[in-house]
Amino acid sequence: MASINLPEQQKKGESDMDAIVKVTNLKKYYGNGEALVKALDGVDLEIERGKFTAIVGTSGSGKSTLLNMLGGLDVPSEGSVRIGNQELARLTAEQATIFRRKQIGFIFQNYNLVPVLTVWENIIFPISLDARKPDRKFIMEIVNLLGLESKLDSFPNQLSGGQQQRVAIARALATKPSIILADEPTGNLDSRTSDGVISLLRVTSEQFHQTIVMITHNPEIAAHADRVVHIEDGRIVADAS
């Protein structure tokens, strides 16, 4: 893999140990009465800037719900989520959307590419929404790193699962977000491709000094991360660096 020189993500005066994400007493309940489901039941978590953090848990443990809360894709029943200096609960729906496209990069299990846009257009889609000019040099470096040079004019339905996931990774990186949230990025991939994707995330985290939070149910995949947080029944039960 080619190495890339990138602008530092870190701001002056901020250290590596600063928490980029701070979660306090986060709760998310669905339904009521007998049908009450406690997806998150009081989660406290801090994620350091520039680190690759994996959140592991079995199916139904609340890890996807936690990720959705971190990304502002859902609202908590109680508690708070702060990204950088921004308390997400204080934002209106429109502000949250705009904050998300500027500050947060998503990598979904199902890729969630826009089927009618080409690979290149998918990569720069959040930037286009923001009316910003894409940093072509930077994006091409990511494209080269991810091996997508020959696929830029293709449509998602012309790509394999692994290629689609790499496009999703490129899209997440292209906006130079504060944090990348990856929801089971290897869930739909074979083991070989999975290894490749995880390696890319690892490299990304190191070389771009990118904060990445990944959720997975696979401890082996989680082992690639700097820190592994275990969640069960909506609570953090272990936290290993």
Binding site: N68, G71, L73, D74, V75, L91, A93, E94, Q95, T97, I98, F99, R100, R101, K102, F106, F108, N110, N112, V114, P115, V116, L117, F125, P126, S128, L129, D130, A131, R171
Partner: protein, 848 residues
């Protein structure tokens, strides 16, 4: 920092969506084209009906100008023309009035040729030209016919006319240089000469002209006309205002057009349902798409723009296609809706951009609303929820939550569960079908309930109404001295085997006087209010001549009475079968010749004649009023004088009438025949009256008018109802297709678990039949009840109730239901065949 500023990406995204989903896009564009077509058609017809009525009022008035001032001098005319409210003016320099008796009721002015006035009054020569030489004249065809002048350039025209300054009648010779066809209703027209000719004919003519004024904003014409004059210091100048802007007439115009505009509500509702149902095929994908783009940072404003652009892309091809097809439909039906446009196609005569603009607006509204609905499904959801949207109710019905019941999972139960899951689909399809079926059944019921025999009995008091030549045109004033209908002709007609009854009507206008006692009941009635609280005389506000005649009667007691001598069939129709307001008709005493029967208004709810038992003097003889009968206007053809617009008719035996007015001719002859001999009798009658100038309204004319009215009132709505019904069927079929296509993966799961093809078919057919059965169970009572209530009300209370024999019918529904039941079986099976082209594993991998 949190600004939201790029909307261009939305346009690109929408364009790609449009191209990528061509099939769905074509379907949507087709649906919107239908909406645009129907809206264009019904608005255009409505506008045409309104404009046609306005045109007919303008014809009656004789000009398109808003106000006509008479007798202004040129300084005053120039000053009026400069008034801030005045848009344009046309001038008429009148030299005099043609005074030939043969012109009858029509006023023909000898005037200096003026292109502007000619255009405003439809008096521009279409054959030949306006006069250029001093001895040339251009005239209208009716005047040429009345004066027996051939329509040939250079034909000699000898005119008797009276100068406008009151000089002696004179005769002058001209040569015809041009002519035109005056609209049939015009009672005034001009004969054009050059300015030099005018100078020669009237060297000392006063500075006197008529001025036609068109305002920028015609509102209250009387007030505006007076204001303009007041500002010129010319309050005494006589004027008239255009009937087409009279409030009562404008109301009538709007009432006539309203039903066509109303149809558009049904069109838009059905259109929204149809487009939405098409969009619903991919509702889950659409909702998840919105969730996806929200998660990537597309703001609500950008999503809003996306929807607007989506609607715009659909409307861009649909609106012009709808305009074109709607216009073609309008062009084909217009001649059957609007008659009497003098050979010009009514579709082009009243073409207006407004219907197209209204249609575009409604089509846009339909498209936008239907495109908005899927986004609204997830508008309140967070992106995480939206990305998982399934469109199916997550709530488990209470009875299914109980674990105690352990049912076997059989195909019929699965079919029922499948339907219960997607109630919205069923509701939308049912609503659309119910609306369109009710409209179609309602209009069909109205069509078959309109009774031709009843119509003929009310409109045509007899099979044939023969009219004197001076009353061939409805606005021609009857000339009592005309004897075109002779006693010999009547004898010949009466002698025909087919004739079962015959009678005659003679009339004479006479100035009469009513004292206080005579006036009182009439004035009380017209000044009083009817059941709706409206002053009765207000209904006549659209007829200024009636108003002026009534005021004269009310203040001075002077009025015009119309003495009518009647016999035979005329007597039975008017008197024996008449509706009496007061008093009783005694045929024997009537025949004795000392009594008359009075008739005022055609209402029976109030008295509009002098009191029963009072005396009136007619032709120097005294008669007692025996009774008051409701006036039957359709018996008499042609017009009476303007002064007789307000009148009271007095019926007397024809022998008495002939004693009083021996020189008076026969105005009308009423004839009834054996209908089996209609064809032969009409051939005989047509031959007899050829080239005599006598006019006849035949039974076949009434039948044609009935057919035309039926077409106008019901066939067009039936057509619109049929198209809406087709839209309803498409909605229904679409709902069936959606129900299978969005469950590709579900079907694959069933197959992977061992469900055979036969079982799958049974499942879908079972679902279809249950769906069809539930639809039928809903539609039959709902449509029956709504149609029964609507047409029941219509048969009793509507303006058409007088010619209706209510025949409640649901025939369109009984034809449609078997079609629906076939569709519910065929469509799901067809869709299953389509989706099974993909393998089970391929379908299992689909992210629904």
């Amino acid at each position: 920092m949190l600004a939201n500023n790029n909307l261009k990406i939305c346009h690109r995204l929408m364009w790609r969506e449009f191209r990528f989903h061509k099939g769905c896009s074509i379907l949507l564009v087709t649906a919107l084209t239908l909406v645009s077509m129907l809206c264009t058609f019904s608005f255009a017809i409505g506008f045409m009906v309104r404009s046609g009525l306005k045109y007919s009022y303008q014809i009656q008035y004789g000009s398109t100008s808003h106000i006509l001032y008479y007798g202004l001098n040129s300084v005053q005319a120039a000053s009026v023309a400069r008034h801030a409210d005045v848009k344009e003016t046309v001038r008429l320099k009148v030299l005099g009035l043609l005074s030939d008796d043969m012109l009858g009721y029509r006023n023909v002015k000898l005037a200096v040729a003026d292109d502007g006035w000619a255009a405003a009054t439809e008096a521009v020569p279409v054959s030949g030209r306006m006069p250029e030489a001093d001895d040339e004249i251009a005239m209208d065809e009716l005047t040429l016919q009345s004066l027996a002048i051939p329509r040939k350039e250079g034909a000699k025209v000898q005119l008797r006319w009276t100068p406008v300054d009151g000089g002696e009648e004179r005769v002058d010779t001209f040569y015809l240089c041009g002519w035109w066809k005056s609209p049939m209703g015009y009672t005034e027209t001009c004969a054009w000469v050059t300015p030099n000719a005018a100078g020669r004919l009237c060297p000392d003519a006063p500075d006197y002209l008529d001025l036609g004024v068109t305002l920028y904003r015609p509102r209250n014409l009387d007030r505006q006309a007076q204001e303009i004059l007041r500002e010129q210091g010319a309050d005494k100048v006589p004027y008239t205002t255009n009937l087409a802007y009279n409030r009562a007439r404008r109301q009538r115009m709007n009432e006539k057009a309203f039903p066509f505009y109303l149809m558009n509500i049904a069109v838009v509702v059905c259109g929204i349902l149809m487009v939405y149902n098409i969009v619903r095929i991919s509702t889950v994908q659409n909702a998840r798409f919105y969730g996806r783009v929200k998660s990537l940072g597309m703001s609500p404003r950008q999503i809003g723009r996306f929807i607007v652009v989506q609607a715009a892309y659909l409307c861009l091809p649909a609106i012009p296609a709808g305009w074109l097809s709607g216009f073609v439909l309008y062009m084909v039906t217009a001649p059957y809706v609007l008659l009497g446009t003098g050979g010009e196609h009514p579709a082009f005569l009243f073409l207006n951009p407004a219907p197209f603009a209204c249609s575009a607006l409604l089509t846009w509204f339909t498209a936008f609303t239907a495109c908005l609905l899927p986004a609204r499904l997830v508008s309140g959801s967070r992106p995480a929820e939206a990305m998982k949207y399934t469109g199916l109710s997550a709530a488990i019905p209470a009875e299914d939550r109980s674990g105690a019941k352990k049912r076997r999972c059989r195909v019929p139960f699965m079919a029922l569960y499948g339907i219960r899951r997607d109630k919205k689909k069923a509701v939308f399809a049912a609503a659309s079908m119910c609306l369109s079926m009710t409209l179609l059944c309602g209009f069909w019921t109205q069509y078959i309930s309109t009774d031709e025999e009843k119509y003929m009995r009310e409109i045509a008091y007899c099979d044939y109404l023969i009219a004197d030549a001076s009353t061939a045109n409805s606005l021609q004033r009857y000339n009592p001295a005309s004897h075109s209908v002779t006693p010999e002709l009547i004898e010949e007609i009466a002698g025909q085997k087919a004739v079962t009854a015959i009678g005659t009507v003679r009339t004479m206008e006479i100035p009469m006087y009513a004292d206080e006692a005579g006036r009182a009941p009439i004035v009380e009635s017209f000044e009083g209010e009817n059941e709706e609280g409206v002053v009765r005389k207000a209904y006549m506000s659209g007829s200024p001549d009636w108003v002026s005649g009534y005021e004269k009667f009310r203040t001075t007691g002077e009025y015009i009475g119309i003495a009518s001598g009647i016999d035979g069939l005329a007597e039975s129709v008017i008197l024996s079968e008449g509706e009496y307001v007061e008093g009783v008709y005694d045929a024997e005493r009537f025949a004795a010749g000392n009594y008359v029967i009075a008739a005022g208004a055609s209402e029976t709810s109030f008295v509009s004649t002098p009191p029963i038992g009072s005396s009136v003097e007619i032709g120097g003889r005294q008669f007692k009023i025996m009774a008051a009968v409701s006036y039957k206007g359709h018996i008499i053809t042609g017009a009476d004088s303007r002064e007789a617009a307000f009148n009271v008719s007095y019926y007397m035996p024809v022998q008495v009438f002939e004693e009083l007015f021996p020189e008076c001719g026969i105005r009308n002859v009423l004839v009834n025949i054996d209908h089996n001999s209609q064809k032969e009798f009409e051939e005989f009658l047509s031959k007899k009256i050829r080239d005599t100038g006598i006019a006849v309204k035949m039974r076949s004319d009434y039948q044609w008018e009935f057919g035309n009215a039926l077409f106008h009132n019901y066939v067009i709505p039936i057509f619109v109802g049929a198209v809406l019904f087709l839209i309803g069927i498409l909605n229904f079929a679409n709902a069936l297709v959606t129900g299978v296509l969005i469950r590709k993966k579900e079907m694959a799961v069933y197959e992977s678990l061992g469900m055979t093809q036969l079982q799958l078919r049974r499942l879908l057919v079972g679902e279809g039949l249950m769906y069809g059965g539930m639809m039928t169970a809903f539609l039959v009572p709902a449509v029956s009840l709504m149609t029964w209530l609507w047409t029941g009300w219509w048969a009793v209370y509507s303006a058409s109730a007088w010619c209706v024999t209510w025949k409640y019918s649901l025939l369109p529904m009984w034809i449609a239901l078997p079609v629906l039941l076939v569709l519910v079986m065929v469509i799901p099976l067809g869709c299953l065949h389509m989706i099974r082209k993909e393998s089970v594993t391929q379908r299992l991998q689909i992210v629904e």
